[in-house]
């Protein structure tokens, strides 16, 4: 995991464009794409990726992540903005001059060439001499563990093997950047998990910058050094996995990346040192931490502010800072990963509010329970989203 802070972290605030350093492999500034029919697919986004990092672009269907990826590779002309790779402006460069490799979900191997010939093909086109070609193919075949498959035809390979060949074919060209467009999308669950680990290993060994697009947030969390969360054509947050998960910039990020329980209410008062605030919600008044807020907490008194609590921080107890009485709707014991409890609390006006609790141990709650959490795990979030007027349920579930 890279411990570097990412420069594209907060796109909602009007920050100056950070200086591009040698560490930055890819820098995207003000990227905008309007399709001929007037659809604004990508709306003035900024993010940068450090050299050698594994960056994952994630967001709900239609959020603009695929358009962004296709803009990077030059398949779609951008309407406005700038894309720099290794400091060089490639915004208008043709695809073949960009030094970017691309791997798709459907592999796109040449069916009439062997594995070895598929991998060598790009080098031949670049007129690399025979000795160097042989050496580079041998090296990449070894790294991808394809030695025993080099003479096979693509049709003789399993899906996982084809994907490794597709990766090898791109990587042998030694691109500055490798883009992966949902490469594990069509695979069986088990193979997907296996390939995620293979990708992590290859990324460590290759030391190339990866940009990976997916809608699967667990895959994003498992693979990424850096996550760019997109929504409705904008970047909600671009940050390390730790920060996206533990210090989400918006309620959208908190709900989209990982599971979370989100509450909204009026911020009524702030503790003397400013670290905690009371929030009056239809479920009761709760104490939450202000550590994630950008504004001075007292300035938010009287405003409606959301906060979220991760399910693993909810406990069956009334001895923590906050508690609420719930009916237990469902208890799911999942061997190997503990217990998930679906709870229903009722607001003062009688509306049901669903909560989720996760325990790494096996627990057997009774039918009605008091569920509690500490103020330190209730994170106040200043914004619901960088997109105006968003409805979390609707926009995250795509309903």
């Amino acid at each position: 995991m890279s411990d570097t802070e990412y420069s594209g972290a907060d796109t909602s605030a009007a920050e100056p464009t950070p200086d591009v350093t040698d560490d930055v492999a890819l820098d995207v500034r003000g990227l905008t794409k309007i399709y001929p029919d007037g659809t604004l697919a990508v709306d003035d986004i900024d993010f940068s990726i450090n050299d050698g990092d594994f960056c994952v672009l994630i967001g709900p269907s239609g959020c603009g992540k695929s358009t962004t990826l296709h803009s990077l590779v030059g398949k779609i002309p951008v309407t406005e903005g700038e894309v720099r790779l290794g400091g060089v402006d490639i915004t208008d460069a043709p695809t073949y001059e960009r030094d970017i490799g691309l791997v798709f979900q459907d592999f796109q191997l040449f069916p009439h060439l062997t594995v070895g010939e598929n991998i060598e093909y790009g080098l031949q086109r670049l007129q690399v001499d025979a000795d160097e070609r042989a050496e580079r193919v041998t090296n990449i075949v070894e790294m991808m563990r394809l030695e025993s498959l080099a003479d096979r035809q693509p049709e003789e390979l399993s899906a996982g093997q084809k994907q490794r060949v597709a990766l090898a074919r791109s990587m042998v060209l030694e691109p500055k950047l490798l883009l992966l467009d949902e490469p594990l999308g069509d695979m069986d669950y088990k193979l997907q998990k296996h390939m995620e680990r293979e990708l992590l290993r290859l990324h460590r060994e290759l030391d190339t910058t990866f940009v990976y697009v997916t809608h699967d947030q667990t895959q994003a969390m498992r693979l990424a050094d850096q996550i760019v969360v997109m929504n409705d054509g904008k970047v909600e947050q671009s940050d390390s996995v730790e920060r996206v998960y533990n210090e989400p910039a918006t309620a959208f990020v908190s709900a989209f990346v990982g599971d979370s329980n989100t509450f909204t209410g009026e911020l009524t008062d702030v503790s003397e040192d400013g670290s905690y605030a009371h929030i009056e919600t239809p479920l009761g008044t709760f104490l939450a931490t202000t550590k994630n807020l950008r504004s001075d907490p007292p300035s938010l008194v009287g405003e409606q502010i959301p906060f979220s609590v991760r399910p693993q921080y909810l406990e069956v107890t009334d001895e923590l800072d906050n508690s609420v009485s719930c009916r237990v709707d469902d208890v799911i014991h999942q061997p190997g990963s503990g217990t998930q409890v679906i709870l229903e609390a009722t607001t003062t006006d009688g509306t049901p509010h669903e909560l989720q609790l996760k325990s790494f141990d096996r627990i057997e709650p009774s039918d009605t329970v008091s569920v509690g959490w500490s103020a330190d795990h209730a994170t106040l979030l200043e914004q619901t989203s960088v997109v105006d007027g968003i409805d979390l349920g609707t926009d995250i579930l795509g309903e």
């Binding site: 269907s61 399993s158 069986d188 996995v241 599971d259 999942q334 190997g336 309903e399």
Partner: protein, 375 residues
């Protein structure tokens, strides 16, 4: 004796030379949520189609509520069937309400328009898509369309529902939401659910009874807990849940109480036997969540070098290289412990109970240890 909702006895099916179902024996009780889990091509879809009557089995007996289906047409079987490709099953020119009404108007039971309206309202509310009542399918998201298809099938009040991986094409977040809804629908309707999937996470979450299939055969039937904690073959242990596998060499030494000493790729290991101790080769499996990085109380310890560390919010996965092993060894611990930097030598350990020794890799002898290690 009560009659099973679905009963299969010695069911066999071949397509040309290839046997896709071998001697399937399965009893699904009334009201049970049964999930059949297996890799692509294991025969699970064929099994579902045989039960539905869309494919005839070659041999054996399939009974529904005690009635042999040999003479029953597809319609007579009165089954609800939800496919993965739901887009193709909705009528594109009919509204959501008309789509649901169609099955009710053409069902065996006579219903007044008022009754049909009431059922539609109940179904739309149960599936939380009331607002789509007058929309055409094309105006709906994938998740909404899938719910309309569910509503259409569920409204027929069939005592048995068949599901062919219905959530596979949905976005991750919606999949998680729909898994919870499937559980609550099952609890509300009290119908028998038979559900097939390749997704073990979903299977472990949904099933009362879990059936693991491979190469056209049933590897194991049990509750999710029993299949996960007491896998009968190495295939089941590898396919259900996460695992590290170590290939063994030579016949193990029985040291009593179901425990053996056995030579593995990373040296000698003491393990608990699962299905025999007589063969020259076998496999030892250790689940990543059973491995500890605090080894003070561990019965077995080994040393590895940390290659990668992946924080996923709820858990952290450590990838280690161990001398003698040509693949990484994984350890998963809750949360984000403040230990381990890449390149560091770490000690890891587990208890003898957590190292499972299998000499029988699968119920089919076709499975080799390299199949289990590969992709």
């Amino acid at each position: 004796m009560t009659t099973s909702a679905i009963s299969l006895e010695a069911v066999t099916k071949s397509f040309r030379e290839e046997t896709v179902l071998r001697d399937i024996e399965l009893e699904i009780e009334d009201g049970e949520f049964c999930v059949v889990l297996g890799p692509s091509g294991c025969g699970k879809s064929t099994l579902l189609k045989c039960i539905a009557g869309l494919i005839d089995s070659d041999d054996g007996t399939i009974s529904l509520d005690g009635r042999d289906t040999a003479e029953m047409s597809v319609q007579d079987r009165n089954l609800g069937y939800v496919f993965q490709e739901f887009e193709e099953t909705l009528f594109p020119h009919k509204t959501v309400a008309e789509n649901i009404a169609f099955g009710l108007e053409h069902g065996e039971q006579e219903r007044s328009p008022e009754e049909i309206d009431e059922i539609i309202d109940d179904m739309l509310s149960l599936l939380a898509i009331e607002e789509t009542r007058d929309d055409l399918p094309s105006a709906l998201s994938g998740g909404q369309q899938q719910r309309v298809e569910l509503a259409r099938q569920l409204s027929r009040e069939c005592p048995i529902m068949l599901f062919d991986d219905p959530l596979a094409d949905l976005d991750y977040k919606l999949q998680k939401r729909m898994e919870l809804e499937m559980r609550s629908l099952h609890a509300d309707l009290e119908s028998t659910f038979l559900y097939i999937t390749h997704n073990q996470d979903q299977a472990l979450k949904l099933a009362d009874k879990l059936v693991v299939m491979n190469h056209g055969m049933i590897e194991q039937i049990g509750t999710p807990e029993s299949v996960y904690h007491n896998p009968q073959t190495a295939f089941v242990c590898r396919f259900v849940g996460d695992s590290n596998a170590l290939v063994t060499e030579g016949v193990p030494t029985d040291v009593g109480d179901g425990v053996v000493d056995v030579e593995t790729e990373i040296g000698p290991i003491t393990a608990t036997t699962q299905n025999g101790t007589e063969k020259e080769t076998g496999i030892v499996i250790v689940r990543p969540e059973a491995v500890s990085l605090d080894t003070a109380d561990c019965e077995t310890t080994v040393t590895g070098v940390l290659e990668g560390r992946t924080y996923t919010g709820e858990t952290t996965e450590f990838a280690l290289s161990i001398d003698g092993l040509d693949r990484e060894f994984y350890v998963v611990v809750p949360n984000d412990p403040d230990i381990g930097s890449v390149g560091e030598t770490m000690e890891l350990g587990w208890n003898i109970d957590d190292a499972l020794y299998f000499e029988k890799l699968s119920v089919t002898d076709a499975v080799t240890s390299s199949d289990l290690l590969g992709e």
